[in-house]
């Protein structure tokens, strides 16, 4: 392959830099809001703060409730617990189901896959009322367990589809060879298939994590105790009925987005492979 000309490279860099600037511009505004001392609004193009204060971050991160409990710490913990558990539960359920759908023959397989897809098309907000009653019957209202179960199951259809698609692309010969060597079906699954599916597992995990980490409508309806709120619910409180505290909202938004960005950064290599491969055979 011949070396591309300098000019062409420069053009590519220019194009990418322009899009990066357009991409970062709104983010810089959030940073500016989070760092500016007042919510003062002026018509300006400048996305950099004129004076800097960490006050908003301090209040968001170190705020305590009336009885002196450190709210952010507890909320961070419950967000981590909920998102982590959602990822684990969701992945465990999705992996086995996707494997069965990819490898085994059984009646109702096609229909099941279609049904999974179909349930994704019903607007989620309107499932809220029935979900609430079901959790109430299960005595899981106002509990993180209930939230985890709802998140994990609602993310399942996407996770199963993505993983099934990836499993379909893995050659069966390896599994057959393992069976020849006397491995049990469970061993084949755990020792052969799962390690091969690592990119798709990473992407699916990332998606489950994000679903749980960012969701606030369900969490706000199901949870009652502010010390157990997930972070997005806490963030919502800064945009209240009468009061809107943009500075704190922006600071909170940055804090909430940071871990997801870090995960994206860490998993970005897998992201490219894990997602498309899942898509190829749909």
């Amino acid at each position: 392959m011949n070396r591309p000309s300098k000019l062409k490279m420069a053009a590519i860099h220019a194009g990418l830099m322009l899009t990066c600037m357009a991409t970062l511009y709104p983010v810089l505004w959030v940073v500016k809001m989070a760092l500016s001392p007042s919510d003062s609004l002026t018509l300006t193009v400048n996305p950099f703060p004129e004076s800097i204060t960490l006050e908003h971050f301090r209040e968001v991160l170190l705020g305590t409730d009336a009885s002196g409990r450190w709210l952010f710490g507890r909320q961070l913990l419950s967000s981590l617990v909920v998102s982590g558990a959602t990822t684990l539960v969701g992945l465990a359920l999705a992996v086995s189901a996707a494997y069965a759908l990819s490898r085994f023959r059984f009646p109702g397989k096609e229909g099941g896959m279609q049904t999974l897809l179909i349930t994704q098309m019903f607007p989620a907000t309107l499932m809220l009322v029935p979900i609430y009653s079901i959790l109430e019957k299960l005595h899981l209202l106002d509990s993180l367990t209930g939230l985890v179960l709802v998140y994990a199951t609602t993310a399942l259809p996407f996770c199963i589809w993505n993983l099934k698609g990836y499993f379909d692309t893995l050659p069966r010969e390896l599994e057959e060879a393992a069976v020849m060597d006397g491995a049990s079906p469970a061993q084949v699954f755990i020792k052969v298939v799962l390690p091969l599916a690592r990119p798709a597992l990473a992407v699916t995990a990332l998606f489950s994590f994000m679903t749980a980490w960012n969701e606030f409508i369900l969490a706000a309806t199901l949870l009652n105790d502010p010390t157990r709120f997930t972070l997005p619910v806490a963030l919502q409180r800064y945009v209240g009925e009468y009061k809107v505290e943009w500075g704190k909202f922006a600071a909170g938004a940055l804090v909430i987005s940071a871990p997801v960005m870090a995960l994206f950064f860490a998993l970005q290599k897998h992201l490219v492979g894990g997602l498309t491969a899942g898509g190829v055979k749909g």
Partner: protein, 726 residues
């Protein structure tokens, strides 16, 4: 896994009930923050010290508060006592959430506060505090506050200079709560003699003309939000604002201000009359400790509690005796608000009142954003009111439906039974069915309980009509109403067909932009010799990692007409600033811009992966054959991308079709519901228009049907493309 099985067992044992615990503390729910929260905590501690009854406080986020109450209380998961505005009283009452205030003595409170809490002669809830609007005046800029609108108008020119970002006056003029004083001040009525809402009145036209002129003369800013009012007032850039007691805590210490009653309208001699909101402590009808709950609610509203709430929480007590206390008498803010509240009219707690907001908002925005003359706005609101006000359809008999379900079940069984027997026995055809069942069981159980059942319930809800407290079976009436576009012509916002067209356009434009931008960037990034590739890729993925409600609020701010960064950019380039949310085209463009920002990284990542999987030899071979770059792109890249991109495009189109957050938070359906898509419309029917769950469910079913049709179409596309691939 064991745990999940246990859950499934639990699900089958639906009738289990939580055992009540008599020694449990009283649960008190509120949505207070800051000083008000501190006050309520102190007050409940006083109560516990006095009576020995512990109180468990819960601060609920405001957005979810009403839903939590209406969901929680009937299920026995609610509070014993809760604090809420009186505005929803009738609604709560219809759902049987409230117990009458049995320990209430009428003489203790202001009569207009009690009036607000009455339903059919019975008082529900103990009035705690009054909320009404008054005039906040920056005393440095305005030494003597205006008492009439003529005085106000005379002051404004000197105080306003739009170019310098200074204004004489500001309030949230697009919100009917803030416009109501003007409507009443100009002699307008909201309800006719029979109690029905009226909009097309003389007073309406005059009040709208007045506020429109304020804006046209540049005395008040445009597209005002609460945050803007606060920021301008605290920067000393606006001299006078209208707001309520809650605003006092928001004023910066550097601003000297005082609060006075709203001025009198010079033309009519009537003062600007704000609505009176009454915050009350309600006792839940399901409270297991009703006696103590009543005692707590009463305690919160009177005596020492009033004093603490006034001095610490800065509330305006509804308790008559509180104003005899020296501390309250000396408090200028409290007494000025009490003074201002004298002119206030209690906001009716009727369902009819709840129906007024959306039509009024439409009329206000239509006038303020231009395009509608003040005298025509009443008719506009009236039309919207009639469209939203759905009469309950006649009950239908569920028998034919049950019959249909029965026939289908029998038919299905017969069909399965009568299928020709398979050539191979079951065991041979599906050798690993037992294994498959083990692998599938946990996921299926979860999906069945938490996805499939809610889905079926949602579907069947569309055959019901819901009025607070009860469902009635109405058959297809909801669908008929929607599809016949009853109440509005087909080409108007709010008609199903208009919204559907907008939704399809929305999905199409977004997907095209996502894919083309994503693909373009992927092509730029694919060059293996490109330096800084990783950096670019990370930066370009950022929008995907930001939660989309944050994205939406961030862009909403950037599109503000006077203070948004986008208009800043336009002005810097020598162009006129654009009022983004007044025209369909620009509002739609704003939504699209936001959603494009948020959606292209996904397509970029998919395209990058797909590009990497195209063998480099193909290009080399083409090069040898002398194919141009463009020919290579068309004949190698595009066809080979197709199978990988297609599923992503389909997924993306379904996501976009139901992209509620962006529409709801960026344009909010402006102008006049024009940019609403089907999902946001369904949401409005469910949660903003008197909880018409059945109607909303019918909308959802239609969304579902459209997407189903789309998916069966795309399935064919995919099959075709995989055949091409062989």
């Amino acid at each position: 896994m064991k745990r999940l099985l246990a859950l499934v067992l639990l699900a089958t044992a639906w009738s289990a009930q939580a055992a009540g615990d008599a020694a449990a503390p009283l649960k008190l729910w509120h949505a207070y923050r800051g000083g008000e929260e501190t006050a309520i905590i102190q007050v409940t501690q006083l109560f516990t010290a006095k009576t020995g009854v512990p109180v468990e406080l819960l601060a609920v986020p405001y957005n979810a508060y009403a839903d939590k109450l209406t969901n929680g209380i009937p299920h026995g998961a609610g509070p014993d006592v809760f604090i809420f505005n009186h505005e929803r009283l009738r609604n709560f009452h219809a759902q049987h959430l409230l117990a009458p205030a049995s320990k209430l003595a009428r003489g203790d409170y202001f009569p207009n506060a009690l009036e607000a809490l009455e339903v059919d002669g019975q008082v529900y809830g103990y009035p705690m505090s009054l909320k009404s609007l008054a005039l906040y005046v920056n005393t440095k800029l305005v030494p003597t506050p205006p008492t009439t609108t003529a005085e106000l108008l005379a002051m404004l020119p000197a105080l306003s200079d739009e170019k310098a970002g200074r204004f004489g006056f500001a309030y949230e003029n697009g919100d009917f709560y803030f416009h109501a004083p003007f409507l009443f001040g100009f002699g307008g009525e909201l309800f006719d003699a029979s109690g029905k809402a009226t909009f097309n009145t003389e007073g309406m036209a005059r009040s709208l003309a007045f506020v429109k002129k304020l804006q046209d003369d540049r005395f008040i800013p445009q597209e005002i939000t609460g945050a803007l009012v606060k920021s301008l007032f605290n920067d000393g850039r606006v001299a006078m604002i209208i707001s309520g007691p809650w605003f006092a805590g928001e004023v910066a210490p550097s601003v000297d201000y005082r609060v006075v009653a709203l001025p009198t309208v010079s033309e009519t001699g009537i003062p600007l009359k704000p609505f009176l909101g009454v915050e009350a402590a309600y006792v839940s009808s399901q409270s297991k400790q009703a006696e103590q709950a009543q005692a707590l609610a009463r305690f919160l509203s009177l005596g020492e509690a009033s004093l603490v709430r006034t001095t610490v929480g800065r509330q305006i007590p509804a308790d008559v005796a509180a104003y005899q206390l020296q501390a309250v008498k000396d408090d200028v803010l409290i007494s000025s608000f009490r003074e201002a509240a004298k002119n206030a009219t209690p906001m009716p707690n009727t369902l009819e009142m709840l129906r007024v907001w959306e039509p009024m908002k439409l009329a206000l925005r239509a006038v303020l954003q231009g395009g509608t003359e003040p005298q025509d706005a009443g008719a506009l609101a009236d039309r919207r009111y009639r469209a939203l006000h759905r009469e309950r359809p006649p009950d239908a008999s569920p028998l034919p439906w049950l019959g249909l379900v029965g026939v289908m079940a029998v038919g299905g069984t017969v069909w399965v039974m009568r299928r020709p027997a398979p050539t191979l026995p079951f065991k041979r055809r599906y050798p690993d069915v037992a294994l498959a069942a083990t692998y599938l069981a946990p996921a299926s159980a979860g999906i069945l309980v938490l996805v499939f059942i809610p889905f079926v319930v949602g579907l069947s809800l569309s055959l019901f009509h819901y009025e607070p407290g009860q469902y009635s079976f109405v058959g297809l009436a909801n669908f008929i109403d929607i599809l016949a576009s009853r109440g509005y012509s087909i080409s108007e916002p709010l008609s199903f067909y208009f919204t559907l067209a907008v939704t399809l356009l929305w999905a199409l434009v977004n997907v095209v932009l996502h894919v083309s931008i994503g693909l373009f960037l992927a092509l730029l990034l694919k060059d293996p010799l490109l330096k800084l590739k990783g950096v670019y890729r990370v930066l370009l993925i950022i929008p995907w990692a930001v939660p989309n409600y944050i994205t939406a609020l961030m862009w909403k701010g950037m599109f503000h007409q006077q203070f948004g960064a986008i208009n800043g950019l336009l002005v810097a380039l020598g162009m006129e600033p654009v009022s983004w949310f007044t025209k369909f085209s620009t509002a739609f463009a704003a939504n699209v811009a936001t959603n494009t920002w948020l959606g292209f990284p996904f397509m970029m990542v998919v395209a990058l992966g797909a590009l990497q999987s195209i063998p480099q030899e193909l290009y080399e071979a083409a090069e040898v054959d002398g194919a141009s770059k463009w020919t290579q792109f068309r004949h190698i890249t595009l066809p080979l991308l197709r199978p990988a991109m297609l599923p992503a495009v389909i997924l993306g189109s379904v996501w976009t079709f139901n992209m509620f957050n962006i529409i709801y938070l960026v344009s909010g359906g402006e102008p006049g519901g024009g940019t609403d898509i089907l999902v946001s419309e369904a949401f409005r029917w469910a949660f903003q228009r008197n909880q018409q769950y059945g109607f909303a469910a019918a909308y959802s079913v239609l969304i579902f049907v459209v997407l189903l049709a789309w998916s069966s179409f795309t399935k064919r596309l995919m099959r075709a493309s995989s055949e091409v691939m062989g």
